[in-house]
């Protein structure tokens, strides 16, 4: 029983000035972060921002170039096996044996982690029930859909009662319904387990489910707080207009309102404190035909835009910070 308790105020993850350099690129440029025991911590950023590299270091799958990292109180470089015993891992890529049944995959994992034999069977049943796969336990994994496989991987990651569960893009490539159900399982976890969840994602809407999030861009953490505080920090609404002449509209906004407009996802985008009150002035003074207007309360995407100067989707499409070595490393 005591085996799963996390000593008092000890953080689940503690990172100091972590750097990872590949031959010619610095993928992680000195990050600091602390994840509290018991929280769901979101690690957000576009592909190639250094998310996967960081998570690999925390999971003892890669060595840091410099800096320190502790997981569940153990140093990842010096106490590798102790870290491995304390963490559960769900990778982006599948790591199941599809020629084994669901239950056999779990059994394999339990033996590999040396899970106590008396409780192992009960635990297998519990985790399979948690993800709704108990009735399929004797089916071969090759008959499972992508969503079922991901659920099974989550169940397997929980099998050895880890203190910290790492989920690297757990919903990537899944349909919206399955994505929602995965987040539901993650949310319910805290009811039954004393566990810290560290999750990376590049879906902003999913990050809303986290207690706190860190935004990473080009190897640096640019923001770290609760989603609410981050959004409140933006302090502005996002107004997006489509006009007859976007270039002229951007110039007019600068001239008449002294606002710096950006093209975001094909729309002229401005940030203003009171979006709704601003619209009438806009129609009155802009002098260019406006085809459509939307006003949005700040979202995490605005937070991202605010800190990095680009929207997440644009950052990914541009691929300017795509790092081929890190991409190869991800495999």
């Amino acid at each position: 029983m005591d085996g799963s308790s996390i000593g008092g105020a000890e953080p689940a993850v503690e990172v100091h000035n972590l750097v990872k350099r590949f031959k010619e690129v610095e993928a992680v440029k000195g990050i600091d972060l602390t994840v509290r025991a018991g929280e769901t911590f979101g690690f957000l950023g576009p592909n190639g921002a250094g998310k996967s590299t960081t998570i690999k270091i925390l999971c003892t799958l890669a060595d840091a170039t410099s800096g320190t990292a502790k997981v569940a109180g153990y140093d990842v470089a010096r106490d590798r096996d102790a870290v491995r015993r304390s963490i559960g891992l769900v990778f982006q890529e599948p790591t199941l044996d599809s020629y084994l049944t669901a239950d056999q995959n779990l059994r394999f994992h339990g033996e590999l982690y040396g899970v106590d034999r008396h409780t192992a069977a009960a635990r297998r049943k519990d985790v399979l029930e948690m993800v709704g796969l108990y009735d399929r336990k004797d089916h071969l994994v090759q008959t499972f859909s992508g969503g079922m496989r991901r659920r099974l991987e989550i169940a397997r990651g929980l099998l050895h009662s880890p203190k910290v569960l790492f989920l690297d893009e757990p919903t990537i490539g899944l349909d919206p319904q399955t994505r929602a159900s995965i987040w539901q399982y993650i949310g319910e976890l805290h009811k039954t387990e004393e566990i810290t969840v560290f999750v990376t994602t590049h879906y902003m809407d999913e990050a809303e489910n986290c207690d706190r999030i860190a935004i990473i861009d080009q190897g640096r953490i640019v923001a770290l707080d609760t989603p609410e505080k981050l959004k409140a920090g933006v302090g502005k609404d996002r107004v997006q207009i489509s006009t007859a002449d976007d270039t002229a509209a951007i110039a007019a906004l600068k001239e008449k309102f002294s606002l710096d407009a950006k093209m975001v996802e094909g729309l002229v985008t401005i940030s203003v404190p009171e979006g709704a009150a601003f619209i009438p002035q806009l129609f009155e003074k802009l002098g260019i035909a406006i085809k459509s207007v939307t006003v949005q309360r700040p979202t995490l995407d605005d937070v991202f835009l605010n800190f990095t100067g680009t929207s997440l989707r644009d950052a990914e499409q541009k691929g300017s910070n795509f790092n081929p070595r890190a991409a190869a490393f991800r495999r």
């Binding site: 085996g3 790591t95 199941l96 044996d97 020629y99 982690y113 040396g114 899970v115 635990r123």
Partner: protein
């Protein structure tokens, strides 16, 4: 919901017992996968049959004069037995390339156990599967004039197990270097075929040119095949001169390498290959 009653498990600190459990489950996975794959079982039987009855049958008339009156198929029997384990053991080792491709290798390598435990489990699995397959060939002994001596069969199974352990370790070593699934099988063919031809499995090594004799002495398969042949020939009644032609033993100059020493050399080679494979897998992941 009975949420409070959820089973919580404790993961113990490492130790030999834990390493053994890890090796054992990797071993049992190989057996489960073998059982689920009837084509692999069937195909592993066909090739030895072809060699024994088609090649052996075809050549026996041709070489009769040179074998001291012994059926060439009888000579070939221990060689075909060795061959049958050679290919399936090599395949078991190289299958790690597929484990990497489908991600399962990572599941194994991130566990809090040593890489050695995992690779030992894999070698035991490959050796078990290969030895099981060889039973089919052993059952054919009667057809080529080899008696069903229970002691001989036990000795054969032990020798074949050791041989296939070594070959699985070799396969693992190759799998540590090859990352492409497409190049895995051609590479196995390229390595295994010369090992087989230069091991004395298919013809006596006594009549090879001197430079090839050196190669056969470096080939660890030579020391794995010869004990198998010795065990079979010990049960046959044949003139001493026929035995001298067909089973001359292994000579380092004027020193005849004893059978037990050959077995020792095979075990040594297995450990060296295994050690090299562990080094390689520790580094690449």
């Amino acid at each position: 919901m009975a949420q409070a009653s959820i089973a919580s498990v404790v993961v113990p600190k490492g130790g030999l017992a834990h390493e053994a459990r890890a090796a054992l489950i990797v071993w049992s996975r190989e057996l489960i996968r073998f059982r689920r794959d009837p084509t692999r079982v069937a195909s592993s039987v066909v090739q030895p049959l072809l060699f024994l009855f088609v090649l052996g049958g075809g050549l026996s008339a041709l070489v009769q004069a040179g074998t001291g009156g012994i059926d060439f198929k009888t000579f070939l029997f221990p060689g075909v037995l060795s061959m049958s384990v050679l290919f399936s053991a090599a395949f078991a080792g190289i299958s790690m390339v597929w484990d990497r491709e489908f991600g399962f290798l990572r599941e194994m390598l991130v566990a809090p156990v040593s890489t050695a435990a995992i690779l030992i489990g894999k070698c035991l699995g490959g050796a078990s599967v290969a030895t099981l397959q060889s039973v089919v060939v052993i059952l054919l002994a009667g057809l080529v004039g080899v008696p069903y001596d229970p002691v001989m069969i036990v000795e054969l199974l032990i020798l074949l197990f050791i041989m296939s352990f070594m070959i699985t370790a070799l396969g693992l070593l190759l799998a540590g270097r090859v990352k492409q699934v497409q190049s895995a099988m051609p590479l196995v063919q390229m390595i295994i075929t010369p090992l087989m031809f230069l091991s004395g499995a298919l013809f006596p090594l006594s009549r090879l040119p001197a430079w090839l004799t050196i190669v056969t002495h470096i080939n660890p398969m030579t020391y794995a095949v010869e004990p198998v042949r010795a065990v079979v020939f010990d049960r046959l009644t044949m003139p001493a001169e026929a035995r001298a032609i067909l089973d001359p033993g292994i000579w380092w100059g004027s020193f005849q390498v004893p059978v037990l020493m050959q077995v020792g050399l095979v075990i040594l080679a297995s450990l060296i290959l295994l050690f090299a494979a562990v080094k390689l897998f520790n580094r690449t992941e």
